[in-house]
């Protein structure tokens, strides 16, 4: 196993030896259930799909992912273990990637545990399972985007509360920029290309596109480049501000 893998393994195990895993997963399931069934009117809609479930994912992630990401580097700094980690024979990239992948994998586990809701729609009706699979995939990609942002912000502070709040704000920007309300505000006066640009920067726009069931290469590239960009920024910031 490479060093990315070794760090990945340690980090992932770290979630499960602390109450983080249990708390996160329970809250994740609870919130996604509440959103879907109450706010999303899952039953009254009378349609066999998971649209109400996936529609709330950007909002769910907005709160939960920064909470997960805030400790990635801030804790490492606070405990001083960052000094231990970076005096081992490891590159910044390997450490950043290993930690990120572990957090992403953990999110994937939480997401996978929502499978009962998928079973439920299949029992109740005949949903388009292709769309559902695509939506899960899109949701995971979006989670990766949120995590990469959180990782970067966590790298500049040893204070987890600051990391959390800043991440929520930045993530909010990335969600809202594609939101009809926000775009409506710009549309009367802004030129088309600007509207396009703003909305094309949004997680929301790309996620909605994927959750229609079509995995367009552009959406995929978008999310992957968002992750690459923020992770790259993480390594730069770590290099620059390693010792605070």
């Amino acid at each position: 196993m490479g060093r990315v893998g070794i760090i990945f393994k340690r980090e992932l195990a770290g979630y499960f030896v602390t109450p983080i895993a249990a708390v996160f997963i329970v809250i994740f399931l609870l919130l996604s259930g509440t959103f879907t069934f109450y706010l999303g009117s899952f039953f009254p809609r009378g349609q066999a799909d998971l649209l109400p479930f996936f529609n709330f994912h950007p909002w769910l992630y907005l709160i939960l992912i920064p909470a997960l990401a805030m400790r990635l580097w801030a804790e490492e700094r606070k405990e001083g273990t960052i000094e231990l980690l970076f005096t081992l024979p490891v590159t910044l990239w390997e450490a950043v990637l290993g930690k990120f992948l572990a957090a992403w994998c953990f999110t994937a586990i939480a997401l996978a545990l929502t499978f009962p809701i998928w079973i439920t729609v299949n029992v109740l009706g005949e949903p388009d399972n292709g769309v559902i699979v695509a939506s899960y995939f899109g949701s995971l990609l979006m989670a990766g985007g949120f995590l990469a942002i959180g990782s970067c912000i966590s790298a500049v502070t040893k204070n987890q509360v600051i990391a959390f709040v800043l991440s929520v704000v930045v993530c909010l920007g990335f969600v809202l920029s594609g939101f009809p309300m926000v775009l409506d505000f710009f549309s009367p006066w802004a030129p088309d290309f600007l509207l396009q640009a703003i909305s094309s920067f949004s997680f929301f726009t790309h996620f909605t596109a994927i959750s229609k069931g079509i995995i367009d290469l552009r959406d995929l590239v978008y999310f992957l480049s968002v992750m690459a960009f923020w992770l790259f920024a993480t390594t730069l910031l770590l290099e620059w501000k390693k010792a605070e």
Binding site: R3, R10, E83, L84, F86, T87, P89, E239
Partner: protein
Amino acid sequence: MGNMVEIRRLRKVFGSIVAVDSVSFTLSQGEVLGFLGPNGAGKSTTMKMITGFLTPTGGTVKVNGYDIQDQPIEAKRGIGYLPEGAPLYPDMTPQSFLGFVAEMRGFRGEALRQRVADTVKKVNLGSVVHQRIETLSKGFKRRVGLAQAILHDPPVLVLDEPTDGLDPNQKHEVRTLIKAMAQEKAIILSTHILEEVQAVCTRAMIIAKGKVITDGTPAELEARSPSHNAVTVRVKTGTATGVLEILQGLPGVKRVEALEEEEGIQGFRVIPVKGQSILAVISRCSRDRNWEVVELSVDRGQLDEVFRSLTMPDQALT
């Protein structure tokens, strides 16, 4: 073996603070170098640059021939490092933590298990290997930190205050461990305990305000103390009169201080002129005059005196 650590004009500036200012030295196998210096002298900062955690503002560090900037991975392979305060992952157990470090250091399978088990034994962690690090006492935490530093048997060890906060027994154990490894390694340690330098170091370096002030063996350092070669004599008061004046008149004597008299025994502390050895003269003199001497001893010199006089030159020694 040649130089295992080569440091040239190392410099680190934090904003307006010059933490390390043009530090140069080389270290070869078998040497145990002790960094001494007041708080904020730049000892930890120097160590952080040697181990590749901090990027120097200027200068170069070579470890086992590898430049820490150009070939960081190769250089780091040959270094074991105990950072100041021995930071550790609090949620792990020593077993899982050392397993992680061993894996990062390239050990796998049976070799890994053997390596972890050996190290655990070396630092006496046996009873707590499955306890969460967070719940360990300071002494055990320090040992876990030491264990991760020596696990891969590195040729170069950098230990930042390895005995800080340990009880006297544990201090002794750690020093014994360091001495046992000294032969085949090059070791740099920092400490505020001057006896530690005398106990384990073959070389002592005093650093103040980021600069190296002295570099020599502990004995050489002691020799710079005003009380180096000072002689303490205790004589029965009944058998001798005018001792102070007589001692004062001996060749090579700079000054004599009368110590407190207790139970009919009077002590004197005889300070020599710098560089002179006066034991023989005093010994002969007391024999000739038939003083009943109960103690006659030579002072090697006080490291803390040297330390104070070098790091606070404005305040003259009293």
